[in-house]
Symmetry: C2
Subunit: 335 residues, 2 copies
């Protein structure tokens, strides 16, 4: 049975983990370094009338693939944990209409995927058989909601990140096939006063540091105990700040540290400034790349730390600073 | 340990329940039938510059009271489950900056309070000592986000509901003092094609029916086994539809059935058309009225069924119908 270790960490004692995973992306993701890993690459509307409906469709497509891989029907799924960036999380809410699965809606901004994965692990350790953790984002729906109409062609500052058009879905179960979930740390909200909404990596880095340093203190581990530590979507600037903050806490990030926001695109060639962002970034990277790599034995022991910036366009106009949160999931190979 | 019963219900086997609760409201809530039950009644800005910040402040005030009642500091709280209606849930995200509690952000529209209560119960049954479930809404922040600027003075159709300016916070723990949580049912999204955003009760009633009928089938209970069944914020129209739908399922709602949206205001005198709505409606009614009534022995066995309409202004403009979801919590007196 799950139990708490230290102040932040929940050890998942039972044999709970990822049974299957799937990711859906669009053209830009398909042209990136992980393009071949995605299960489905579609054009940005995915056959729908609007980008918001396209984002819902991506979640549905993802779910279809993940269930097909596991040879399960929606009937076998106890709970669907899902969220996204859209106002009132409509990508997830509308996608949850199909499948008739009990729906637990989440909002953790870009930390949502790890939040859902963590909740799924706790539920499976407690009583559930199968849970789905899903998250999505869409460049076009996010851009017009948070910033400008796409047609306006607004300039992007060098600290900006590119919202991934991606969805990821992971089946967490008592019968894991790809990776075991060994522990979860749900993060505390950190706000160091960053107000620049084009520098979200800087706003989220303290939250990532708080969660990872807390996990290391709870468990006695450090970076060198893992062959991969992957933060959510800090991007280039945020990842540099995260490394500095971790050093100040006494933990030296090695070459095994990377950020999902730096893995999805080739930054210079694809002109994404500081890298990728969005709920779909860590969800997509984990589902199409990290989990399969663990299954193949290419990674044995990793931390996935999705990071979220809990701002809204309204809070920016009201000159509020940007709170960040980061949730951590410790995954390892099955044996 | 918690276990699943039937297709939808989770039985909380350990002694888990509400240790304390608190609710904050504003002038209109103070003038309503439950006015005297609220812990704090404040003016609509709660000393803040904007309504959004006021809503955050209400959550903080609520949390202060609930912890004071339980003589606990924020250090003792394992997790904060919270959500609201604002874009990117900023009321909760910003309120979570204070207290330094691990934060699990939710979005279930007006079903959020029961969603958080259910997750808290599962976590306490599994390994947590103390969890907080919080939800809030604010008439002024909701009205301008979903409908019109307040200054416009838009007319309200007879099926409209009045978003409660209210926040509720419940401390769920292994040492319950007010009520025991006996079971939880997380709901499935239902969408019967209602597109009128001024008739949200009609959109949510099928979800409430699906969850309650599912719970009755799982457990063998019916309305007469409870001395109170309280749906979330269906309002007058929604409650009537819910009763019809339940009858069609073979369950006859008796006089013990009520809706939180019909309890918060006096409909005619306070001119709220079909009644109250908002995340703060069921959260406030439960925290200031239902939980204390259970503690006093005036209610012994109840169902709280918060209902949410998962729409956004964007989905309405895109002519989407309104998906609903309802989460159920079964509460009883301690002995």
């Amino acid at each position: 049975m799950a139990y708490k270790k230290g102040k932040n960490t929940v050890i998942i004692e039972k044999n709970v983990g990822i049974a299957s995973s799937a990711a859906v992306g669009s053209t830009k993701e398909g042209e990136g370094p992980l393009g071949k890993d995605f299960d489905i690459i579609g054009e940005s509307r995915f056959g729908m009338e609007t980008w918001e409906k396209a984002e819902s469709r991506m979640q549905e497509l993802c779910r279809d693939v993940v269930l097909k891989k596991a040879s399960l029907s929606t009937d076998c799924i106890d709970y669907l944990f899902a969220g996204d960036l859209l106002n009132q999380c409509i990508a997830s809410g509308f996608a949850a209409r199909s499948g008739n699965i009990p729906f637990i809606g989440l909002y953790g901004a870009c930390s949502t995927f790890a939040e859902g994965l963590g909740l799924s692990a706790v539920f499976c350790d407690a009583f559930a058989e199968n849970c789905l953790a899903e998250a999505s984002s869409h460049f076009c729906s996010a851009e017009r909601q948070y910033r400008f109409p796409l047609e306006y062609g607004g300039q992007r500052p060098p600290t900006a990140q590119w919202t991934a058009t991606a969805a990821g879905s992971a089946l967490v179960s008592k019968n894991p096939k790809l990776a075991k979930i060994k522990a979860v740390s749900f993060g505390r909200v950190q706000d160091l006063g960053i107000t620049d909404q084009n520098s979200m990596g800087a706003a989220m880095a303290p939250a990532a540091c708080c969660t990872v340093a807390g996990f290391f203190r709870d468990t006695g581990f450090s970076f060198s105990d893992f062959d991969g530590v992957f933060t959510g979507d800090l991007g280039f600037m945020g990842a540099e700040i995260f490394k500095e903050l971790m050093r100040a806490e006494g933990f030296e990030p090695g070459k095994n540290y990377n950020d999902c926001g730096l893995m999805l695109y080739e930054r210079e060639r694809q002109q994404v400034e500081c890298g990728a962002s969005g709920c779909g970034c860590s969800a997509g990277v984990a589902c199409c790349h990290l989990f399969p790599k663990i299954a193949k034995g290419e990674l044995k022991n990793i931390l996935l730390v999705s990071t979220g910036a809990l701002l809204s366009p309204t809070s920016v106009l009201q000159k509020e600073s940007i709170p960040g949160v980061a949730h951590l999931v410790w995954l390892s190979s099955l044996d």
